[in-house]
């Protein structure tokens, strides 16, 4: 059999890497053998490693890289139903199917995610208020368990396993393949309305009043300014452009977009900009000068801006960063989000890439993150005071009946997790039926007490 690679591994946030033993099977037979007789007692699957936390890390066991098991199985151009192996990436799905007029029903802010990872974290995009999360479009999946049997799961067949595997962090078994619906899009461009708003409150009011007009809706929030500038934001809301919206030169091939590449700035140089004065200046430039109005933007620039910078996560330095991603229910979202922003802007912390959006209801998985309400996500480079700040933030989230996204979490405590996800016990019960030997374990699962 193949040989393993021992290497320090963490999530995309690079938060406390630990040595891990990695395998990368290229055939089903190798994967199956690895799962049934792993060289160490536990395994966890890993996609492209873009999860920010430690959900695909397993220092005491084996990490199985799924990237080479990325074959497409079938596609129905009538319905847009695509079946592919779990290692297939959103990047290659877009590359093959956007030219045919199809796009993924939900995309996170990177296309470097695998289908397996998208299911294990039930990812969503800024169209959640309208289209739901990725797994709302999932029709069926195949799950490989520790004894080597393959379970076909859908909302009607093995429904419990289906609900537990969606957002289940890979703890119910290895997701082998999945069938889901792509959506037809008129072009690869979006007509985007930009609007500056002075406060978080205003942003949320606009979301509530106007989200029904937009398929994609979110806001960039200034995460550095406090006081009267607290929560000033730029709303970015849009719909896929119809042919008639496109300039004539784009109409012949509306689904083709020239690849977007950022100016090559060395990471070491970009690192110098990671301080308060420079970032404040950049934020002010962005929120102060960018004009409100309507523009035509291609999907790549709108959804996946940072994908053009390879390993942008290294910009935060060796200690890494945490992605804080919290959701609040409608009743408490204004207050909760404001308190969160106050706490972040008070200290000397660097809160970057803060993004606000609406969420349109519970997801199909037991541990799915979305609820009806609003969510805020931002990056925090790890500094001496970060753990204390995170405790404060967690308390605010709990006090306002909010919850954190498990796809991004690297630091949550078990007690806090239990109150955020009351269905955790149901998940544990279904999980232990599916995996009685506790073969599937991640560092995150151990931290949150998901494995009994």
């Amino acid at each position: 059999m193949s040989i393993g690679v021992s290497t320090p591994l963490a999530g995309w946030g690079n938060y406390f890497p630990h040595p891990n033993l990695l395998y990368r099977p290229e055939r089903f037979a190798h994967l199956s053998a690895l799962v049934q007789k792993p060289p160490r007692p536990t395994v966890i699957a890993r996609g492209m490693g873009r999860g920010f936390g430690d959900g695909a890390v397993n220092p005491d066991g084996v990490v199985i890289l799924m990237s080479r098991l990325n074959r497409f199985i079938s596609f129905d151009p009538e319905t847009g139903s695509l079946e592919c192996e779990a290692g297939s990436s959103f990047e290659e799905i877009i590359r093959h199917f956007l030219p045919r007029g199809f796009f993924l029903p939900a995309v996170p802010d990177s296309r470097f995610v695998t289908v397996g990872g998208a299911i294990a974290h039930d990812v969503h995009g800024t169209n959640h208020h309208r289209d739901g999360s990725f797994c709302d479009h999932l029709e069926e999946l195949k799950l490989l368990n520790g004894s080597g049997t393959i379970l076909t799961c859908s909302s009607t067949q093995n429904a419990d396993a289906f609900r537990a595997t969606i957002s289940g962090g890979g703890l119910t078994g290895i997701i082998l393949s999945a069938r889901f619906r792509l959506m037809k899009v008129p072009s690869a461009y979006l007509k985007v309305d930009y609007l500056k708003v002075p406060t978080l409150e205003r942003a949320i009011e606009r979301f509530i009043a106007e989200d029904k007009h937009y398929q994609y809706s979110s806001a960039w929030v200034d995460g550095l300014s406090g006081g009267e500038k607290l929560g000033r934001a730029l709303l970015v809301r849009g719909n896929f452009a119809q042919l008639s919206d496109l300039p004539p030169r784009l109409r012949a091939r509306p689904h083709l977009v020239p690849p977007f590449s950022a100016p090559p700035v060395p990471i070491s140089l970009a690192r110098l900009a990671m301080n308060r004065p420079v970032l404040s200046l950049l934020q002010s430039l962005r929120l102060g000068t960018s004009s409100s109005g309507t523009r035509l933007v291609d999907y790549d620039r709108l959804f996946f801006r940072l994908d053009s910078v390879p390993s942008w996560n290294r910009v935060y330095g060796a200690r890494g960063f945490v992605r804080y991603h919290a959701a609040f229910p409608l009743e408490s979202s204004r207050q909760g989000l404001t308190r969160l922003m106050e706490a972040v802007t008070q200290g000397r912390h660097l809160c970057t890439r803060a993004r606000l959006q609406s969420l349109g209801g519970a997801g199909p998985g037991i541990l799915s993150f979305p609820i009806t309400g609003h969510s805020l996500a931002f990056d925090l480079p790890v500094r001496a005071g970060t753990p204390r700040l995170l405790e404060t933030l967690d308390r605010i989230v709990l006090e306002h009946s909010g919850r954190l996204s498990l796809a991004d979490d690297a630091t949550l405590k078990r007690e806090a997790f239990e109150s955020m996800y009351p269905a955790a016990q149901e998940f544990r019960e279904i999980r232990s039926r599916l995996d009685p030997e506790n073969r599937f374990v991640s560092a995150q699962a151990a931290r949150l007490g998901l494995i009994e």
Partner: protein, 248 residues
């Protein structure tokens, strides 16, 4: 649609990438390998991605006596004729098994050399009768000079390179191209765990596949891929043996 290409050892990651590359260039494909489950998956993937016609065949490189039947069946089902035969199968024994294990050594030689001679002789005759065609076979830079601790592998690849050179001379007059591919380090199951992942020298199978396809179109004879393995190999070959023996 261009005439089909027969790909032997089609479940290797370089072969899969090459198959996808040729399918993107509108070639139909016949994929052959031992692992039928994997072969079916790869064939279906190529159909969904590129919409070309893909057939699969069972092919056991080490079952030499089956080769003649295997090849004549393909000739029978493919009336318009093959445009090329591309050979990708190979075998590298586990590092710990090396040293004194003759069964491993024989399997290495048979997979990487003997089986190639057996099947490529048939391919050569097939193309000779038609006065057209191309043969692609994957050797290795370690066939130029022993590079790893696995000298049986290097020896077998060296023999393959030499054999292909002879085949090229024989088929040249008939206008048949023989392309020897000498990849350096490629990020495949064979090298995973043996080579540092962060190494700048390591190439992705897709890059190698693109280079092979381009070389085939230009009907080149020898391809080092990525290109920088050519100077590396030249330097390596020029090191006198009395020095080289100390470098192991």
């Amino acid at each position: 649609m261009n005439a089909p290409i027969l790909i032997l050892g089609a479940t290797s990651s370089i072969a899969r990438a090459f198959a996808l590359e040729m399918a993107a260039r509108r070639h139909d494909l016949i994929l052959a390998s031992r692992d039928q489950r994997e072969l079916a998956t790869i064939a279906q993937d190529i159909r969904v991605r590129q919409g070309v016609h893909v057939e699969v065949r069972r092919f056991d490189a080490l079952d030499f006596t089956s080769h003649s039947k295997f090849f004549s069946e393909i000739g029978g089902t493919c009336p318009e004729g093959l445009s090329a035969v591309a050979l990708f199968h190979g075998y590298m024994p586990d590092a710990q098994a090396d040293g004194g294990d003759f069964e491993q050594a024989r399997k290495t030689i048979d997979t990487n050399f003997t089986s190639c001679v057996s099947i490529l002789e048939l391919a050569a005759t097939y193309f000779e009768e038609r006065n057209t065609g191309a043969i692609v076979a994957v050797s290795s830079v370690s066939g130029d000079r022993v590079t790893s601790d696995d000298h049986t592998y290097s020896a077998a690849k060296s023999a393959l390179s030499t054999y292909l050179s002879g085949l090229r001379r024989r088929l040249h007059r008939k206008g048949i191209c023989v392309l020897t591919v000498k990849p350096g380090l490629v990020d495949t199951a064979m090298t995973y765990g043996r080579v540092k992942r962060t190494s700048r020298l390591i190439a992705q199978p897709e890059e190698v596949a693109r280079a092979i396809a381009a070389a085939l179109v230009r009907r080149r004879s020898i391809l080092y891929t990525p290109w920088f393995w050519w100077p590396i190999s030249v330097v390596r070959r020029s090191i006198p043996e009395f020095i080289y023996k100390r470098l192991g």
